[in-house]
C-alpha cells in the first residue's frame, strides 16, 4: 500500500482528517527546507506538499511567486528538491511527500529519469498543475509503473464527465481547488465547497483534499467536515517570508499555525 493510501486509511480509522501543508523547496534557503519539513510533521502534518520552484508559476498568486523567486535566487533545482526528500527520509519513513509544481523542470529532466529518481528519493506522489490527464496519457506509465501517485486538480469549473475521468486517472487523492483564482486568494466559500464536494463524490472514490483560500484553523475545520484533507499553502509561505532572515523564528511561527490547525481539525 502506498504511503498516501496508508495515511488516509489510518486517519479514517481514527476519525481524523488529513492536514496537508505546502512549502516551496529552497525558500528562503536550501538548508531551511528539511528542518521545516520535520517541524511540519511535529506540528501535526499528515502529508507534505513540497513545491518545486519554477520561473513562471502561472497558477500561483504573489505569495508563492515570491517564494519561487527566493528559491531560484540560489538556483534550487529539481535535483536539489529530490536530495531534500532523500535527506528527510533518513529520519522519517512514514510521512508521504508529494512534489507539486509545473511540468517544465520535469520535462527537462526527462519523465523516466525523474520518476526513477523520485522513487529512489522517497517521493510518493506528483502534482503538476499544468499537466491535465489528457496530456498525461503519454507519460503516466512512467509514474504508475513505479507506484508514484498522480494527483490531479479538480476545479469549480470542472464538468461532471471530466470529474469522472480525473477520478479514474488519479491516485492517492484529488486536489479540489476551492475557488476560481490563484493560490493565496481570498477566503473560500464553505457552502460552495460543500455543494461541489457532493458533486465530486459521485464520481471520485479516492480521497479529496481541498486547497486555496484556507488560512485559519476555523476555515480548515469547517472545510474538513466535507472532505478528507485540507491543504494549506500561502498562509504558511507568508510566515516563512516574514521570517526569511531567521530560520528558527520561521519554524516557530509555522509550527504554531500548523499546530492550531491540527487542533481545530481534531476538535
Amino acid at each position: 500500500m502506498s504511503r498516501i493510501k496508508n495515511a488516509f486509511a489510518s486517519l479514517e480509522a481514527q476519525g481524523k482528517k488529513a492536514l496537508i501543508p505546502y512549502i516551496t523547496a529552497g525558500d528562503p534557503q536550501k538548508d531551511a527546507t528539511v528542518p521545516m519539513m520535520r517541524a511540519l510533521v511535529d506540528a501535526g502534518a499528515d502529508i507534505i506538499e513540497l513545491g518545486v520552484p519554477f520561473s513562471d508559476p502561472m497558477a500561483d498568486g504573489p505569495t508563492i511567486q515570491l517564494a519561487c523567486e527566493r528559491a531560484l535566487a540560489h538556483n534550487t533545482s529539481l535535483h536539489d528538491v529530490l536530495a531534500m526528500v532523500a535527506e528527510f527520509r533518513t529520519t522519517n519513513s512514514n510521512t508521504p511527500i508529494v512534489l507539486m509544481g509545473y511540468l517544465n523542470p520535469v520535462e527537462r529532466m526527462g519523465y523516466e529519469t525523474f520518476a526513477a529518481a523520485a522513487v529512489e528519493a522517497g517521493v510518493d506522489g506528483v502534482l503538476m498543475v499544468d499537466l491535465p490527464p489528457e496530456e498525461a496519457v503519454d507519460v503516466e506509465g512512467f509514474f504508475k509503473s513505479r507506484d508514484l501517485d498522480m494527483i490531479y486538480l479538480i476545479a469549480p469549473t470542472t464538468k461532471d464527465e471530466r470529474i469522472e475521468r480525473i477520478g479514474h486517472a488519479g491516485s492517492g487523492y484529488v486536489y479540489y481547488v476551492s475557488l476560481k483564482g490563484v493560490t493565496g486568494s481570498k477566503a473560500l466559500d464553505v457552502d460552495d465547497v460543500a455543494r461541489n464536494l457532493e458533486r465530486i463524490r459521485k464520481h471520485v472514490s479516492i480521497p479529496v483534499g481541498v486547497g486555496f483560500g484556507i488560512n485559519t484553523g476555523e476555515t480548515a475545520a469547517a472545510v474538513s467536515k466535507v472532505c478528507d484533507g485540507v491543504i494549506v499553502g500561502s498562509a504558511i509561505v507568508n510566515l516563512i517570508a516574514a521570517n526569511a532572515d531567521n530560520a528558527k523564528a520561521a519554524q516557530d511561527a509555522v509550527s504554531a499555525l500548523v499546530g492550531s490547525m491540527r487542533t481545530a481539525l481534531d476538535a
Binding site: 519554477f54 520561473s55 513562471d56 508559476p57 502561472m58 497558477a59 500561483d60 498568486g61 504573489p62 511567486q65 523567486e69 531560484l72 538556483n75 533545482s77 529539481l78 535535483h79 509545473y102 511540468l103 517544465n104 523542470p105 520535469v106 520535462e107 527537462r108 529532466m109 498543475v129 499544468d130 499537466l131 491535465p132 489528457e134 496530456e135 490531479y152 486538480l153 479538480i154 476545479a155 469549480p156 469549473t157 470542472t158 464538468k159 471530466r162 480525473i166 481547488v177 476560481k180 483564482g181 490563484v182 486568494s185
Partner: protein, 404 residues
C-alpha cells in the same frame, strides 16, 4: 488531395497537437473555458454569418487587402531577387495584430463576454485589443511588463486613450512572458465573464489554431496578389518570429506548397553565441510553457530564461507550436537577425523606400536583404512587413545617440 505530400496534413490534431508540440497544458480551472472556446470556434469557423462579419471588418475597418508592394530600390540595392513587401504596416493600428483581435472580439461577443483581457510586449497587440474593445463596446484590460511599459510609452498612451486599463506587471523579468503569466492569472480568477485575447499563435489549444486561422488572411492575399502581379507564386517567404503570428499567417496557406521556401527570422539580439537573444527555434529545446509544448529558451534545470531583443515584440522565450512543428519536419527554415542587423535594415528601408518598419519587421527585412543577394533577379521574395515603426522612434533615436 495529394497523398505523397508530407505536408498535406490538417493540423492541429483533435488534442491540439502539431507533432509533439502544442496541446493544452493548463491548470484545471481553465479547462472548461478552453473547451467552450474550442466548441464555439469550431462551430463559428464554418458559419457564414460569422465569416461575413469578420470579412466585413477586415475590409472596411482594417482596410484589407493590404498591398503587396515591389520594393524596387531595396531590390536594386541588394542586387538579386525581387523583394516584395506585404504591407501589414498599413492596417488600421499599424500592424497585423488587428486581424486577430477582430476575430477574437467577434468570438467574445458571440460568447456573451463583456470583458476582454490581453497581454502585450511591444504594445501592438495591446493597442489592437484596446481598439476592438472600443469598436465592440467591451471593457479592456491589458497586461504589460513594466520594462515594456517604459520602452513603449507611446503605445501605453494609445491604449489609455482608447479606454483600456494598462496594468504594469512587476513579476519575473517584467516583459512579455510575465505579462502572459499575469493575464492567465487574471483569467483564471475572472473566467466566467472575461475573454482572453491571446496576441500570438501560441498558448493552450485552441489559441494557436484560431490565431493562425485569423492571421491566414495574410497568406491567402499574397497567393492571390502574386498571381495578379507577377503571374506565379513567390520563391521564398520571409517573416519575423517572436510568438510567430504574422509569420504563421503568411506561411500557413503555403505549407502544402513545398516549392515555396519559408524563412522565419528570430531575434538574434547580441548574437546567437551568447544568451542575449530571443531565438528558441535556433538555440532552444522543446519544453512546456504558457499552455503548450514548444521550443523554449530554458536553463539546464528547465527554468525559463530571460531573453534579449532590441524589439519588445520579439522578446519572448517561446514560440507558437506550429512553427516548432514546421522546424521539426523541415518545412520552414528558422534563422536569426541581430539587433544591429535589424537596426541597419530599419534605416535602409526608411531611406530607400520611404517606409519605416517596426523593429520586429526590420528583422525580416534584414534577413531578406541577405537572402536576396544569393538569389537570381527573376526570383521573388515576399517579406511580411508586419508593422510600422512609429512606436520605435524613441528607441532608435536613443540607440543612434539622438535625443528626440
Amino acid at each position: 488531395m495529394s497523398t505523397n505530400n508530407p505536408f498535406d496534413l490538417d493540423l492541429p490534431d483533435a488534442r491540439g497537437h502539431f507533432g509533439i508540440h502544442g496541446g493544452r497544458f493548463v491548470s484545471e480551472t481553465l479547462s472548461a473555458a478552453l473547451d467552450e472556446l474550442e466548441t464555439t470556434y469550431k462551430k463559428l469557423r464554418d458559419d457564414a454569418d460569422f465569416q461575413a462579419a469578420f470579412d466585413k471588418d477586415l475590409a472596411h475597418y482594417v482596410g484589407r487587402p493590404s498591398p503587396l508592394y515591389l520594393a524596387e530600390r531595396l531590390t536594386a540595392h541588394c542586387g538579386g531577387a525581387q523583394i516584395y513587401l506585404k504591407r501589414e504596416d498599413l492596417n488600421h493600428t499599424g500592424a497585423h495584430k488587428i486581424n486577430n483581435t477582430i476575430g477574437q472580439a467577434l468570438l467574445a461577443k458571440f460568447m456573451g463576454k463583456k470583458k476582454i483581457i490581453a497581454e502585450t510586449g511591444a504594445g501592438q497587440h495591446g493597442v489592437a485589443s484596446a481598439t476592438v474593445a472600443a469598436r465592440f463596446g467591451l471593457e479592456c484590460k491589458v497586461f504589460m511588463g513594466s520594462t515594456d511599459v517604459e520602452r513603449q510609452k507611446l503605445n501605453v498612451y494609445r491604449m489609455k486613450l482608447l479606454g483600456a486599463e494598462v496594468e504594469a506587471v512587476e513579476s519575473g523579468t517584467k516583459t512579455l512572458k510575465d505579462a502572459m503569466n499575469e493575464a492567465m492569472r487574471h483569467w483564471v480568477t475572472n473566467v466566467d465573464d472575461t475573454f482572453y485575447i491571446i496576441g500570438t499563435a501560441a498558448g493552450p489549444h485552441p489559441y494557436p489554431m484560431l490565431v493562425r486561422d485569423f492571421q491566414s488572411v495574410i497568406g491567402r492575399e499574397v497567393q492571390r496578389q502574386s498571381v495578379e502581379q507577377f503571374g506565379r507564386q513567390p520563391d521564398a517567404l520571409v517573416a519575423c518570429v517572436g510568438g510567430g503570428s504574422n509569420a504563421i499567417g503568411l506561411f500557413h496557406p503555403y505549407i502544402k506548397h513545398p516549392e515555396v521556401a519559408m524563412y522565419g527570422v528570430e531575434a538574434g539580439g547580441l548574437g546567437l553565441d551568447g544568451d542575449d537573444h530571443a531565438a528558441p527555434l535556433s538555440k532552444g529545446r522543446p519544453g512546456v510553457l504558457h499552455g503548450n509544448r514548444t521550443y523554449l529558451m530554458e536553463d539546464e534545470n528547465g527554468q525559463i530564461m530571460g531573453t534579449h531583443s532590441i524589439s519588445a515584440g520579439l522578446d519572448y522565450p517561446g514560440v507558437g507550436p506550429e512553427h516548432s512543428w514546421l522546424k521539426d519536419v523541415g518545412r520552414a527554415q528558422y534563422v536569426a537577425a541581430t539587433d544591429d542587423e535589424a537596426l541597419d535594415a530599419f534605416h535602409k528601408l526608411t531611406q530607400l523606400e520611404g517606409i519605416m518598419p517596426a523593429l520586429e519587421s526590420s528583422h525580416a527585412v534584414a534577413y531578406a536583404m541577405k537572402l536576396a543577394a544569393t538569389m537570381k533577379p527573376d526570383q521573388v521574395i515576399v517579406v511580411n512587413l508586419s508593422g510600422r515603426g512609429d512606436k520605435d522612434i524613441h528607441t532608435i533615436a536613443t540607440l543612434d545617440g539622438v535625443t528626440a
